[in-house]
Subunit: 125 residues, 2 copies
DNA sequence: TATTTATATGAGTAATTATTAATATCAGGT
DNA sequence: ACCTGATATTAATAATTACTCATATAAATA
């Protein structure tokens, strides 16, 4: 089954990293700025060792960079382009999640199929 | 801490859904076509009930649509635009993951900071 | 040198979720 | 009506990972 132009094996670990709510909150919280760890701890309400753990996972995955400034370590997004991608997904969700399978607002589903299935359950198994 | 233009709370559940490797493989395997469940089972090597479970999660999250055709249920991506977003992330990873924090190929990090921190560990705690 | 603050790591535990087994339900064919 | 194949659901178990606790390490300050 090969219909994605590329194997998904590369994006799989990236999505695993981003699939943790705490890490996504940390990432989005950084935004366009660099923040010291103490800031991130305060803003997220997570424990210090938990924040440190998630930052290490984000750093090793290449999503953030660390910069030491004196005794503080500042974390920044590796590239703010990542925010655009997250934003694109949010906009996609705005369109397709609300509509669900009941028909896209922006893109019409191809006609001519059998009558569109209701959700399988509703259709009876 | 508010630097993402939007709260991440909307994309968090979406990333949780996509953060499971099996579901990402199913999604990418669909690509531009609709596939019956039997196909997906075969292509992924996952158990039938496991595939059914993941398809339900993907459907409820709005990523795929189900269409019954006779006794077969075909699953399609809700919108192929999603593939573009996944592709964008892959390209971003191509640039930033390999480079890590050692400097972007495409985008220069602003100069003028303290000397760039090594990874924190290497810098000593 | 000692102390304080910042931050990382290892080990253990708690929580979450993927997977499997068993079974139910549905559509189509005989 | 019965049988077959397709597919969903429930419950139990296995696997993974988030979180906490304790502690180590590093930089700055006294």
């Amino acid at each position: 089954m090969r219909f994605f132009a590329h194997s998904p094996e590369q994006i799989i670990p990236a999505f695993k990293v981003l699939g943790e709510p705490s890490r996504l909150r940390i990432l989005c919280g950084l935004g366009l700025e660099c923040r010291p760890v103490t800031d991130i701890i305060q803003a997220t309400g997570l424990g210090q060792t938990n924040v440190s753990f998630h930052l290490r996972v984000l750093r090793e995955a290449g999503f953030v960079r660390a910069e030491r400034r004196g005794s503080f370590i500042y974390y920044c997004l590796a590239d703010t382009e990542l925010l655009r991608i997250l934003h694109d997904l949010k906009q996609w969700l705005d369109t397709y999640q609300t509509q669900g399978a009941s028909g896209a607002r922006k893109r019409r589903r191809p006609a001519g199929r059998h009558r569109a299935a209701a959700q399988p359950k509703e259709a009876g198994n």
